[in-house]
Symmetry: C3
Subunit: 354 residues, 3 copies
């Protein structure tokens, strides 16, 4: 599909610097681009590539200084602008499954909306509901009484256990497990007795969940993933966790049971949070950090155990000096001892004074 | 299903404080409960909720001081008591697959016990055995010669590779992989040659394994998960690991090859253990800890690398003072130098003394 | 299958010390071996087991001192020698699926090579290609236009998304996800808008990928796993990552977007690397380490944040002395204050000097 720079600039509400009539025929990264391609510059550190790229057009931030030969489209948010252009120009990524496969297993009691697609070997159990335009890929499993919203995509091998509720425009990548039993046991004389987990999971609208993520059902009540929250691959979310809207949980992070997370929180990769605490809105948890207490809003913590970023930075810098510090103090101790002997005369005296 | 407080108290061997004849019609968490519900208080820190809950009955520890209007059932272990009540009153969580689906693929040479259920698109390969009352959900895979015990539940997409042996009353959540090849290579001139992994995995009775857990088959011999051990989601267990009875392995923990873990060990979330070490009975490894050496029985370690808890706590508290310490020592060094000059007169002298 | 020690020694180009005519009937670990078994000694720390093992033959390093009764076969690389012997003597681990199951769903437009096996409930979508002798286990999913090489094995529930390219002699264990969308969003006013991920994943020849690993497709361009690289279970590899040849990525490690990793790199378990950095050839990253900057070739780093091993060791050892150091410095400060009072006479004076 071909579009002119002018047409694209109008689409993303951008300002053209250069030739508006160039025809764009492809999309690419700034390094890999060839003539006819459109690309984008989100990170200022890559600005020098504007001079070497072979792209015909670059979507760039408004404050960038033009360089090189390519026409620029200046936009408030080049990332978002580029996303719109990709959706316009690129053939749709996944080719959707079309219609209901004759090889799927769908209960007579299940309720399917309009224009639903179900791939081969997918299973939809009794009384499950699936909204309009939703796509269920091959081998996905929808348990009894589960409810899936509209325009949602479940990739191959997703498993939605019974009674869980999934919103509209949700994306779940392959291997996601929703509604596995929470990890709860009553221990008597060293033997662990299973505590039934009779709650559910609610995944609200516009959530995206990465491959092989696991989200446990509540003991009772519900585990909740708030609207617009995005979860990366291999994340663990335990029973009764509640995550607010538009938070970001990066790969391999883990959240223990009954913890509550605010809105627009960022948990970076491999970080972890203990159970039964609260994390305030807009707070950022750095990669590999370990959170053992509730956290205020709007802070940035790092480390295991985590500390506020400025404190952690000072401690971390100091640690590099620690071996030298030990030697320095050892020398100082000797010097002081010698000084004391010189000044006070006798060792016995010194001990009394110290 | 309705029960009176008296009936429930008898079931869990508890002592009633209040009206024995109240009829219980539902189950809920202490915050969410409404009239007619039974709830429980396991953690004393939630005792104030006894006054605000709308529940009609609370299962509570024997030493709790009665508060609020709800009838109490005092029990030795409220968690366990509550688990029994849930099993009594609640509709069974998962509705079991009933019988053998005509859409499953079951080898003629497989041996199935009585009352086995196999869901659609599940596969049971040649010479596999499945015990009485076991439930195999949709899309699960049982490899050649694998043996599954009685009253075991395998949720959707579980994969049991060839020859592995699973006990009775085991629960495996969706996406569990048992018997993938151990990670073993012989490296010659920088190229890694695969070492065949011809052992198996044995999962003993009453084990529960969380979603997307991976347990590798032994190089030869066996990887063993001991009776009653409970494993949370996304845990990695490498080849030839042996875990004793009734241990707890929390989400995203990892155990490297040939390590042996005792009974009633607790590995908290995201912790890791190197290969070829031994962890003693009852030992507790804190979240995100890294274990690079064998550990004694009955200890509590924390940190990466891990140290005994009391030592780690002192070090961690000290780290907060480290930046200040550096400044203090720098000032002290100057003061001592000035003192030395005053006391000894010359700098040359000082150097000799230090 | 029976072989003499002589035959085995010839196979692995080893030197026999002892009786060449013993007949080997089985394979086992050095501790579990019984008469007639062959075993091996790779790690010198297990040399004392040579005296107690019941094995009839031991494959051992060339420099080992003979002990015990067993015949030795001395080899340059006992691990590799043993791997060859296992392949010779042992019944093949997995019994391959044979031919194309009538229960698989294979598009008419897919191209299958010679001698391909496809298990029940596997799905091969439109225009996918599968090379000669490749084995696709039950329930695996091959998306549109994906290409799978020759002699490759995909275990149950592997998911290869559209357009991804998999090489020859690749092994992917159960639950692997290749080509899930990269985690990329453009955030406007706190709302995250999905950036389409229209690139692919390329997995080169002789790569092995562990159970439940996730590898995201590129934003555009490609995510690449280099020839001969081995990846353990539950590893996360983000979009646009490029890994060189013959690297080793151990379980639960994670690599963030657009990072480039050299050849023969080792990432130990649970380690993590931020995005947009480069890791040099032959570099080793210790378990649980966190890498936030590019790393040179041929180094060994450890810690979170990571430091060169020798520096980290000194810091870690020093940390054990930190609580004591605080006390020492506190005492020194008092002593110096007393000395200053003695030497200078007045406190006012001291303040001026410090």
């Amino acid at each position: 599909m071909k579009k002119t720079v002018k047409e694209i600039a109008e689409l993303i509400n951008g300002e053209v610097v250069g030739d508006k009539n160039i025809v764009i025929t492809g999309i690419s990264g700034i390094k890999e681009a060839k003539e006819g391609d459109i690309t984008f510059l989100a990170n200022p550190k890559y600005a020098p590539l504007m001079e070497t790229t072979k792209a015909s057009c670059i979507i760039a931030p408004k404050d960038v200084e033009p360089k090189g030969k390519a026409t620029l489209i200046k936009a408030d948010n080049p990332d978002l602008g580029f996303a719109k252009v990709v959706s316009l120009l690129s053939p749709l990524g996944p080719v959707p499954v079309k219609g209901i496969s004759s090889l799927a297993s769908i209960s007579k009691n299940a309720k399917l909306g309009k224009n639903v697609s179900v791939g081969p070997f997918a299973v939809v159990e009794d009384d499950a509901e699936i909204g309009d335009n939703t796509i269920i890929y091959a081998g996905a499993y929808i348990g009894n009484n589960a409810k899936i919203g509209k325009s949602t995509i479940l990739y191959p091998h997703v498993s939605i256990r019974e009674k869980c509720v999934i919103g509209d425009s949700v994306i779940m990548h392959s291997g996601v497990v929703i509604g596995s039993d929470g990890f709860g046991f009553a221990t008597v004389a060293g033997v662990h007795h299973k505590i039934p987990q009779i709650g559910i999971v609610i995944v609200e609208d516009n959530v995206e969940i990465g491959a092989n993520v696991t989200i446990d059902r509540a003991r009772f009540g519900k585990t909740v993933i708030g609207k617009g929250t995005k979860i990366d691959n291999l994340v663990q979310i335990a029973h009764n966790v509640v995550i607010g809207e538009n938070s970001i949980i990066v790969a391999q992070a883990g959240i223990s049971g009954s913890t509550t997370i605010g809105k627009n929180v960022i948990m970076a990769g491999q970080s972890g949070i203990v159970g039964h605490v609260e994390i305030g809105d807009n707070t950022i948890i750095a990669a590999q950090s370990g959170i053992s207490k509730s956290l205020d809003k709007n802070i940035f913590v790092i480390g295991s155990p985590a500390r506020p970023q400025n404190i952690w930075k000072r401690i971390n810098a100091s640690m590099g000096h620690l071996p030298e510090l030990l030697k320095t103090v050892s020398k100082l101790s000797k010097k002081v001892k010698v000084l004391e002997e010189k000044v006070y005369g006798k060792t016995e005296d010194n001990k009394e004074r110290s």
